[in-house]
């Protein structure tokens, strides 16, 4: 499903002089697996997710999604891949304040050019699963942090992507909500038959995954 | 020969190509016709100076000057349907010097000759010339031939003086130069037709500072016309008209060049009976004995002279009655000259007579660059 081989990422002008965020990272996430990566802030975990999502390209090495080398893709193709196959969940939720809950969830469909009405049942179904169906018409600013992230998870799953990438999905939540949200996400991913890769700084939360890897100063330590 | 810087300034307005009559030694004089304007000539003036006094025990004494100039713009009137069409310019200068208060008043006019502003008579009547007074005044300036002399009037209500005088010639007319042909320099044709009434009994009224005085006295009149008087290198002149108590009259002029050297000089002595003797330059001498600096423009004028005519046994001390008798023009900026009454005495200070002196070309800008 997702494979890194010898991937390095250096920010800055030249390879030698820049800041190396990832150093010779190689791994494979098979289809249907739920993998957690643990690391402190600045360890390179966000970079890893960006590379996996095709948002960024590696300085060296190869990133393969669904068996395709992303570096061989044009920006347009990578965008389409992201649109159709990948769902993203962010630490800061990134909900659009000017849209209600329902429309935030439907956003990927809008992006893909679908009619919002066609997705209405799917949106409600997902919201129902996260117990927010009755809040569908609310502005997102009325929601609590946990609720917002649940909405964001619904948004990520809307178009049934095969790969879900989550960047500190609980980073902005209190402990209680963190567990709740993560469990919900894992459950949904399983139900949707998707593959999940999430990064977190919490060993406890990482423990919920099928597999936990550690990242430290850009070096992945597949425990 | 009282011509004047102002005339020169206006003279230089003229295009030289126009067909003006030159002064001629054989000019055929005709009086009284020649008292009126001679329009074929380029310039012409009637020039009066004199000493006046009131009757009574403590008479008030005045000197006066009255001049009309005619400056021809073109020999004939242009064919234009406009009252403003201009053949001549009329210029007038008038001054009264109060010898009691030592105050000198001067005024002037400059108009084109036209029915509304001033004209020259054509000889069909007594009018020789008239003009509007200076702006702001009402009483016309005028000059009439009265058969034996001239009636003249000038006023300036803003300067608060006016006079109205009637003159009667007791001598003359006297030709200045043989047949009234007055040579003004070595250059070809630099000359004018020139005659004088060197002694004219005068009576009339002078108003000054709001008071009107009945006056009597003696005037000197010059009339001169021509088309090309001054030589190019001459910048000014000293001119004397002296009336001696013994009945003789003396006219002298010295034309000065740029270096203040006498370029040309001439004179006439008129006997009590009216006989003119034309003086050669070697016959007489004039020596300035003092100077006066104008507070108006800083010009330095000679003031006080010793005049000698040895052949006539004349040795005269000429002294200005008033130091500041400078005429400063407002109409023609830069034009300034000294024109004032003088007394004539012996070296010992005994009175010999009276007269007028004119000094031109001393002020820096009295000949503006053209």
């Amino acid at each position: 499903m997702l494979a890194f081989s010898h991937v390095s990422k250096t920010y800055g002008e030249t390879v030698g002089a820049g800041l190396t965020a990832l150093h010779d990272v190689s791994f494979q996430v098979p289809s249907g697996r739920r993998v957690a990566i643990v690391g402190r802030s600045g360890s390179g975990k966000s970079t890893l997710l960006h590379l996996a999502a095709g948002i960024d390209l590696p300085t060296r090495g190869k990133v393969e999604v669904l068996g395709k080398d992303l570096s061989s893709f044009s920006d347009r193709d990578r965008t389409l891949l992201r649109r159709n196959e990948i769902g993203l969940v962010f630490q800061f939720f990134h909900l659009l304040p000017h849209l209600p809950v329902r429309e935030n969830v439907a956003l990927p469909a809008l992006v893909a050019g679908g009619k919002p009405r066609d997705f209405e049942p799917r949106v409600l179904e997902l919201l129902d699963r996260v117990s927010l169906a009755d809040r569908a018409g609310d502005p997102v600013s009325n929601l609590s942090g946990g609720e917002m992230q649940r909405v964001a998870i619904c948004r990520a799953l809307l178009r049934r992507p095969r790969l879900i990438l989550a960047d500190e999905p609980t980073g902005n939540l209190d402990d209680e909500n963190s567990w709740l949200v993560l469990e919900l996400m894992l459950e949904l991913v399983t139900r949707e038959k998707a593959t999940l890769l999430y990064v977190t700084h919490s060993r406890e939360l990482a423990g919920l995954a099928d597999e936990t890897w550690r990242i430290h100063s850009g070096v992945l330590d597949a425990a | 020969m009282p011509f004047l810087a102002g005339a020169l300034v206006v003279l230089s307005l003229l295009g030289s190509t126009l067909d003006w009559k030159p002064a001629r030694p054989d000019y055929a004089w005709s009086f009284p016709r020649d008292h009126w304007a001679r329009t074929g000539f380029r310039t012409e003036w009637w020039y009066f100076t004199g000493h006046l006094q009131t009757a009574g025990e403590n008479p008030r004494r005045f000197g006066y000057q009255f001049t009309f100039f005619r400056v021809g713009l073109q020999p004939t009137s242009p064919a234009l349907d406009s009252a403003w069409k201009a053949r001549d310019v009329i210029m007038g200068h008038a001054a009264v010097t109060d010898l009691t208060s030592k105050r000198h008043r001067f005024t002037e006019i400059l108009y084109r000759a036209m029915p509304l502003l001033g004209e020259f008579g054509d000889g069909s009547g007594p009018l020789v010339a008239w003009s509007r007074p200076p702006a702001g005044s009402t009483v016309r300036w005028s000059l009439h031939w009265n058969g034996r002399g001239f009636d003249l009037a000038a006023s300036d209500e803003n300067q608060d003086f006016s006079f109205r005088l009637s003159t009667r010639g007791t001598k003359g007319p006297i030709f200045q130069g043989p047949n009234g042909y007055s040579i003004k320099g070595g250059e070809d044709g630099a000359a004018s037709q020139y005659y004088s009434f060197t002694r004219m009994a005068t009576r009339g009224r002078v108003s000054i500072g709001g008071e009107e005085h009945a006056v009597e006295g003696v005037s000197w009149m010059d009339k001169e016309f021509g088309s090309n008087q001054l030589g190019a290198r001459q910048i000014g002149w000293d001119w004397f008209s002296l009336q001696l108590d013994d009945g003789r009259d003396l006219m002298l002029y010295l034309l000065r060049d740029r270096h203040d050297q006498v370029d040309f000089a001439n004179g006439t002595l008129i006997s009590r009976e009216g006989q003119a003797r034309y003086l050669e330059s070697g016959d007489w001498s004039v020596r300035a004995t003092g100077t006066w600096t104008s507070p108006h423009n800083g010009a330095r004028y000679p003031a006080g002279w010793q005049v000698r005519v040895p052949a006539e046994d004349l040795e005269l001390v000429v002294t200005p009655e008033v130091a500041d008798a400078e005429n400063v023009s407002r109409i023609l900026p830069g034009l300034a000259y000294w024109e004032g009454p003088v007394r004539v005495e012996t070296a010992a200070g005994d009175r010999l007579g009276q007269g007028y002196v004119e000094l031109t070309g001393y002020a820096e800008r009295s000949r503006p660059a053209l």
Binding site: F90, H94, V111 | -
Partner: protein, 840 residues
């Protein structure tokens, strides 16, 4: 703090390049429009003053005949008045130069023997002055004119004034501008005798300039008035200038109002950009506050930047304004000479205070635009500056209350006007109220956009998303709305006016051929046709009827008006004067048979004249009252116009020549052929023959020229507003970079982001357009029914120029789309990685 400021200035300026640039541009365009209009206004008045001073020196008083000229016999009277220090006669003529298309020389006849201005005599040289007195046709012209016409000293110039023709000679080139910078370039100075004799009339003068001996001008004025009688007036220089300024006041006021609108629009742009700049630096300010910077220090920092940007804008705007004035001075000048019969502008007059005022306006706009956002920033507690900014900007309730406030302002203004309708500038107050109210409706409109159904991520989505950042977008939409209001309002007014004028011309211009002399465009009443010519012309083949037109400048009440004499017996001649009201038969009967006058609407409104009333006139015989038969539509600005029959005019003012004629041809006659025949028969006689069509065309051309400057100002405002769109979208592209990154991470393609931004631009365009159209219609109403009536006294029939307004709307939307292209491109390049660094 100062060190911090200087240290970071360069970085900041570089980082916010485009924002600063557009702010500078906003200020610059505002300053430029205000400045250019003021320069033109001042130059127009100065041109008039200049002609007075060029040769007249600074006359203390001017004596002028009430019936345009005065007998020259009054000159000695003036000269002899106690307290007069000098007096100078002036004879003025406008003469047409033959062989040149439309060159009119402003000939001034003065007394070259004693010119009033010594400086001009010295410039001329005394020798030259004597040539001027003796050489036939001698004139002194400006070197500028000589250069333009290719004249040199000694050249003969054929000219005409009315039926009279003369050969003038370029005698001297004199830069009268050195005496007074205000002198017109087309001034030609001649001796008064030559002007009177060659081209004018003997016995008359136009003016006598008087220098007072004492400072007590008022006394002298009274004394002169008493001495000279009632046929003349004695004016102080202020009065003379006021006269010109008065004629132009409405014209100038209009331009000034339009330029102020540009400035207003400009300050909106400044607001938008400074807000954007400050919002981006919220954190920076938070940190500065946290480390101990005081509010005052922050305010100082912001004020310094505003001043810097304002200063640059002022510098740029000053150059631009001067250039714009230069570029437009000809059009305005043509208006002045053709419509207002004043001197043309030949040099720009820019006293220092105009620059200062322009600078003050620019700096004021820059500082005012910065004030609100700066205060907001400085008053916020440091903690709130450091934390993420408010996610949601509420559009809801505040939009409604703002709209209510707008409605309130409009209602109040309308109510106020009911009581203040008599106050002349009341219309401008209404206009200002409207322009203040328009922006208040923008939030509601923008909010309405968020009600649009959601479909796809494209133009529509962008359109709808405007509401999301309404505090940024409403200002731009508002400034566009104001610019559009102005444009639509003026378009409505102009085209209504144009249509009205066309209809009026079709009605009142009925004859087939019009004849006048070449110098007719000048100010003189001397441009007459000789009686022989009139009788010769009236016998032209195919002519079945003819009209004669005699115009005089006469005193009526406190002002000078044009009094025209026309044929009363012309069959169907009543069509020449479409009436404002009343029974046409009765009115024309009175006009034709009883010697009554028809008064132009402009004059009637200004003076409150009504049918049945009396028109006071000063005639050579003294004061007269002419009954008023009716009021007719008249569209001449400036000097008022009244019409009487030729017989009545002769009775009042004595016989005199006519200035133009109109021929009615037998049906079926060929107008063009007749004109050709006439031209051939009168070749070389300085006569102009024009067909009905040509005459109407000329009037319309003058009309269009008059509004040329207006169009420039409209364009400027629109340009500022479009700059505002670019600015706002660039701001949004920055502010929304996280949002854009989210779209990208959700798989949105660049083209989609591009379309969103085009949608936003279009959205602002539509919002501005919708409000602008509404505002424009109201504004047009105010201009046509309130301002025009108050200042010009014209009745304008409202006409809807659908086509033009549609085209303008399309242009505005196209401009909005165009303006959004660059920001859209910038937005589409937002990388998805932006997401991790910034929050939404």
């Amino acid at each position: 703090m100062r060190r911090y400021l200087l240290h970071t200035l360069k970085t900041r300026l570089r980082a916010g390049r485009s924002l600063y640039l557009l702010t500078v541009l906003g200020v610059a365009l505002g300053v430029a429009s205000v400045l250019s209009v003021q320069i033109i206004n001042l130059s127009a008045v100065a041109a008039f003053r200049g002609a007075l001073r060029a040769v007249g020196s600074e006359a203390d008083l001017t004596v002028r005949g009430l019936n345009r000229t005065l007998p020259e016999s009054l000159f000695p009277e003036v000269l002899g008045t106690r307290g007069v220090r000098g007096a100078w006669p002036v004879y003025r003529l406008d003469v047409a130069v033959k062989g040149s298309d439309s060159l009119l020389l402003e000939v001034m006849g003065i007394d070259l023997v004693s010119p009033a201005s010594r400086e001009s005599l010295e410039l001329l040289g005394r020798e030259k002055a004597s040539e001027g007195l003796t050489q036939p046709g001698w004139m002194a012209v400006t070197p500028e004119l000589a250069r333009a016409q290719g004249w040199s000293v000694g050249d003969s110039i054929e000219v005409s004034c009315g039926p009279r023709e003369a050969r003038l000679v370029v005698g001297a080139l004199v830069d009268f501008a050195r005496v007074t910078t205000l002198a017109g370039a087309k001034l030609a100075v001649m001796d008064i005798s030559q002007v009177q004799g060659l081209l004018g009339r003997p016995g008359e003068l136009h003016e006598i300039h008087v220098e007072a001996a004492a400072e007590d001008r008022a006394n002298l004025k009274a004394l002169l008035e008493q001495r000279l009688g009632s046929s003349v007036e004695v004016l102080t220089p202020t009065q003379r200038e006021d006269e010109a300024a008065g004629l132009l006041s409405a014209f100038r006021l209009n331009l000034t109002a339009l330029s102020l609108i540009s400035l207003f629009v400009g300050s909106f742009v400044v607001y938008t950009s400074s807000q954007a700049l400050l919002v981006r630096r919220r954190r920076e300010f938070g940190v500065l506050r946290a480390v101990g910077a005081t509010r005052a220090q922050l305010l100082g920092l912001i004020a310094f930047e505003a001043a810097l940007v304002g200063g640059l804008g002022v510098i740029l705007g000053t150059g631009l304004g001067y250039w714009a004035a230069r570029a437009n001075v000809d059009a305005v000048s043509a208006t002045l000479t053709q419509v207002y019969l004043l001197n043309e502008i030949t040099s720009l007059q820019v006293p220092a205070w105009v620059y200062l005022a322009g600078a003050a306006a620019g700096m004021g706009a820059a500082l005012a635009g910065t004030l609100l956002p700066a205060l907001d920033l400085c008053l916020s507690p440091p903690r709130s500056l450091l934390s993420s900014r408010l996610l949601q900007e509420k559009v809801g309730s505040s939009a409604i209350s703002l709209a209510l406030a707008g409605t309130g302002i409009l209602t109040l203004a309308a109510v106020w006007y009911r009581f203040a309708a008599d106050w002349r500038p009341a219309g401008f107050v209404l206009g200002v109220a409207l322009l203040v109210a328009i922006p208040l409706f923008t939030p509601l409109l923008v909010r309405a956009a968020s009600l649009l159904p959601l479909s796809g991520l494209g133009v529509g989505y962008g359109f709808r998303s405007l509401a999301g950042r309404w505090t940024t977008t409403v200002f731009t939409a508002s400034s566009l709305a104001i610019a559009v209001s102005m444009m639509v309002g003026v378009t409505l007014k102009t085209s209504s006016f144009r249509e009205t004028l066309e209809v009026w011309l079709r009605t009142s211009v009925q004859a087939d051929i019009y004849v006048k002399t070449e110098s007719w465009r000048g100010r003189g009443d001397e441009t007459a046709l000789s009686p022989e010519l009139v009788s010769q012309l009236s016998r032209t083949e195919d002519v079945v009827a003819f009209d004669r037109y005699r115009r005089l400048t006469v005193q009526s009440g406190d002002e000078r008006i044009f009094l025209a004499g026309v044929e009363t017996g012309l069959p169907g001649g009543e069509a020449r004067f479409p009436l404002v009201g009343g029974d046409p038969d009765a009115v024309y009967r009175q006009f034709r048979d009883e010697g009554a006058a028809l008064v132009g609407e402009t004059l009637a409104r200004r003076r409150g004249l009504e049918p049945g009333g009396l028109l006071p006139l000063v005639t050579p015989a003294g004061k007269a009252q002419v009954p008023i038969a009716g009021i007719y539509y008249d569209y001449q600005p400036g000097t008022g116009l009244a019409v009487v029959g030729l017989e009545t005019m002769e009775k009042l003012f004595g016989p005199g020549p006519v200035q133009s004629m109109a021929f009615y041809l037998r049906p079926g006659a060929d107008t063009d052929k007749t004109i050709d025949r006439l031209r051939a028969a009168h070749a070389g006689e300085s006569l102009l023959f024009r067909s009905n069509r040509k005459l109407r065309q000329e009037v319309m051309e003058i009309f269009d020229q008059t509004f040329a400057v207006t169009r420039l100002l409209q364009g400027t405002s629109l340009l500022i507003a479009v700059a505002g769109i670019i600015l706002t979208l660039l701001v949004l592209a920055r502010e929304e970079s996280a949002e854009l990154a989210l779209y990208r991470s959700l798989g949105a393609r660049r083209s989609q982001l591009f379309r969103i931004f085009v949608g936003k631009g279009l959205g602002m365009g539509v919002a501005g357009l919708v409000l602008g159209l509404a505002g424009g219609v109201i504004l047009a109403g105010i201009v046509v029914f309130v301002i025009n009536r108050a200042y010009f006294g014209w009745t304008i029939q409202v006409h809807w120029p659908w086509g033009t307004v549609l085209a303008q709307s399309a242009t505005i939307l196209a401009a909005a789309v165009l303006a959004s292209l660059y920001p859209a491109l910038a937005a589409s390049r937002t990388p998805a990685t932006q997401l991790s660094r910034e929050d939404l």
